[in-house]
Symmetry: C2
Subunit: 374 residues, 2 copies
Amino acid sequence: MQTSPELLQPAAARVQIALGDRSYPILIGGDLLRDARTWAPQADRKAFALIVTNTTVDALYAAPLAAALAPHFARVRTLTLPDGEVYKDLAHLNLIFDELLGQEADRRTVLFALGGGVVGDMTGFAAACYMRGVPFVQVPTTLLAQVDSSVGGKTAVNHPLGKNMIGAFYQPQQVVCDLDVLDTLPDREMSAGLAEVIKYGASIDVEFLGWLERHIDALRARDRDALTHAVRRCCEIKASIVGADEKEAGLRAILNLGHTFGHAIEAGMGYGAWLHGEGVGCGMVMAAELSARLGLVSTAFARRIEALVARAGLPVRGPADLPPARYLELMRVDKKAQGGDIRFVLLDGESHAVVRTAPEDVVVDVITTLTAAA
Amino acid sequence: MQTSPELLQPAAARVQIALGDRSYPILIGGDLLRDARTWAPQADRKAFALIVTNTTVDALYAAPLAAALAPHFARVRTLTLPDGEVYKDLAHLNLIFDELLGQEADRRTVLFALGGGVVGDMTGFAAACYMRGVPFVQVPTTLLAQVDSSVGGKTAVNHPLGKNMIGAFYQPQQVVCDLDVLDTLPDREMSAGLAEVIKYGASIDVEFLGWLERHIDALRARDRDALTHAVRRCCEIKASIVGADEKEAGLRAILNLGHTFGHAIEAGMGYGAWLHGEGVGCGMVMAAELSARLGLVSTAFARRIEALVARAGLPVRGPADLPPARYLELMRVDKKAQGGDIRFVLLDGESHAVVRTAPEDVVVDVITTLTAAA
């Protein structure tokens, strides 16, 4: 009698992404990365495993992950990319292909994305393209990647003229969220991750929003029980939305609250100056304010979002040196834009989001109001 | 009452690729490209249309295509890439992204691949990746592209260490094979296309093989009736195989007769020195000989393939300066290779193909026998 690989895995919370023959589990728990049993479902003794990571994470977790993978594969190697959003481009993506082809990696090769959103997006896109598709596993090491970017199969690299403009929808084999790794995450990155956590509360789950208001300090302090609940709840919400709209035909776009403004800030300041989560945090404050100005949600609710974003340690004002006209220019190349019209994810009631356009003068006014004094 | 766009299209043979919600038609006939009605199914007056072509084809067909598209789109532009397999790389793919982003192209943008296999593969891959997927149309202008590369959704670029190593399975909205454009195709390119035509006869349809033996001279002379039959029959065969195995899980691999040897010749000589079809032609002779040596098919059938390849104006001997050891090295990074074993598409009976390994000494012996004297 054969035991299924899943049964051999260590105890952890599991959230399933239901996408037919592309379904996969998210594992959430402590001490998962170093445990060889975690990787049993990918075991293939004839296959090559490539860990893709960055310089920062490499020093902390690449060796333990390689050791945990070793019993399952013919060969395990690690490719270390420079750390930062500024390296999320075609040139650095090509370093992954160079390594794969240099190692004569075949179609059974499994890629492991060990890092934050940048590593996950690039590794996933490389897996989608290499030989037109090889399997990959997400091993997110930031809170942002655990609750958002590693789940749902969006992969991409940036282009100088726009973020995530070149990519694919490509699902991993599994996502492993080891909460232990968050202990080494810098406070600034922790806050950036909380922006995406708050997003789920603000645009989808008002009960979770209330829970966040009560536990935001515990989350910033890395309280294990609070983290387990938050990561699990975010993954559950994302799973339900991705399962219903894998390729963002409609519903899935509501996961982008704050992202239209946020992307403009990130791109306008030069990738890396503001973290993605910082742009999203400030962007949510702008989106909430815009929603209130349009009479879609109460001003009180917009203030509630702003207060929570601030308590998470995130900026609630746009950069002084980014004028509204530059936002508009950058937002017109947002992927949601159609026929020149910028489309925003707005709050249409408390914890309810909708995708729509907005009058340009109101948008400019909101940005002006919510920009830091020079 | 609304007339469906397909009913407005000009008279042409139609072959349907059946892939559920990704199904699409191939139109085969004369005077299609210049006829605005051909493009009615893609009409979107709010969308941007980008024709991607190369310097050679641009001069001949870009202006008439742009004129035929103009009534259907808000804006039509043409991007002209340099002509040749050597430019089928990530750097030139990025020129397409530069153009799209420079034009603020949104998700409704439709790409038109006007050219041979290189243009089709690159444009299709760009469409697959841009904003994680925009629609595209294949307008193949070589015989090779009409009968093979434009049909079935394989898109890719090359890497210095391997051909078509970076790509996606991504289906077009329609394929338009205008037979008029073959009148301007150089003889060498015509022969290269016939290699893929012969492939269908040699590995799948013995009746078509007999027809080809009777009509090979008419095809080389661009006889319209012969071309119509050949292009249609090849598309029908490919449609049935792609419909059953879109992502090359098994069956579809038999469309690669001659390609393992052929890719090694192409890569070994430097992309562009041998045309893809020339490599495939010579590669089919090698694959047939290998099949005969392994007792899978009669020597007489292998000779029959060699004679037809020669009559098509294609090389039947490998280049003098490419030693067998170099073939082996290059074939080990073929996408069909697994765990270091080279896998060949071999003839397992007349017009019947199978994917399997072969003893290395026999492979070396076949290459040695079929290499031109220095």
